[in-house]
Amino acid sequence: MLNVGSLKEGFVLDHIQAGKSMDIYNYLGLDKLDCQVAIIKNAKSNKMGRKDIIKIECSLDVINLDILGYIDHNITVNIIHDRSIVEKKQLMLPKTIKNVLKCKNPRCITSIEQELDQIFILTDKTKEIYRCRYCEEKYSNL
């Protein structure tokens, strides 16, 4: 078993779908943070067969985890303080997503306006539909 040291303070993101950890690394902007990050790929899991895990050693206020609810709400987020799990965060779909998704509508003002925040708003919770705040175009992964 691969051994990665325990965290003093930070987050453990568990039950990430195998192979998706680098996507999450990028979505959370971890490449821009000056902190220790361990990415474990294809770990054995009773529940999932294989899974990815990300461990992030950082203070609790530097990462906005809301986006994880959009990416995959089955991810388990353990919040670590003084080397113990102080909270298991329940992931929910965020009401707004800022500067993570990009509007693909070529007619949208976000395609030309400099330094404009890319904002998406949850308009249908059941169907998990997000729309651009400016042009109201539905976000699609395709």
Partner: protein
Amino acid sequence: MRHLISPMDFSVEELDELLNLATDIENNPNKYKDACKGKKIATLFYEPSTRTRLSFEAAMINLGGNVLGFSSSASSSVAKGESVSDTIKMISCYADICAMRHPKEGAPLVASTKSSIPVINAGDGGHQHPTQTLTDLMTIKSLKGRLDNLTIGLCGDLKFGRTVHSLINALVRYTNIKFVLISPSELRIPSYIREEVLEGNNVPYKEVTHMEDALPDLDILYMTRVQKERFFNEAEYIRLKDSYILDNEKMTLASKDMLVLHPLPRVNEISVEVDEDPRAVYFKQVQYGVYVRMALILTLLDIHIN
């Protein structure tokens, strides 16, 4: 400070108040002739428009105010690469209120977040055109006497037709409204309007491809132009542009009190012969557009005339 970006920015009660004010302006124009003395409207038109821009300018002049602005992006600092945010901050220093038309969807919303004066969306791409909606509502209310219990046929380009999207958004809030959506399959109403606005509000609608089938049931026929400027592919535009043409023969299928509205400009989707039919009210609609914009300017500037 209030803006008008989407037709949903006003509640039904506020819309009623605005339409009542517009009717009072229609009946007593002299009462309002100096209401905006010393005030200026900036008309920021990044794409060509005749009636909307002139309608705003006529509205402000009728209220005793002044007008400044530009009528194409080529003649403004946009040609030098200026952002909407910077333009509106600059215009806020010159004018008391502004009307913006922009080819990019959401541009007036961006402007409203940076502006220190009220911003009116005068049309943003294929998205919204709320002052045309106010015009349409005033036309229907003035000539039909109501905004509820209506069957409304929307015909033509329902995909890119922003006036259609705005009108549906506004009308679903009234009781017993039914829609008949008449378009070629390529220009159907966008799915978000169908799913979230119509089905989301339990508003009955049907989609048809033949205008003749729908005409006998309609209280209002709202015609639209297939807009060349919304197509990236010219061949596609040419194929679809003559999908629906309303003429006197088709008008015989409609009821005697059905009204024909059109946001204008028309190209050939309504034959000129129909203009003489008393049910054709699209030029009266233009006049109502001035009254309703006068009422909107007064409301957003918080000016009250007793």
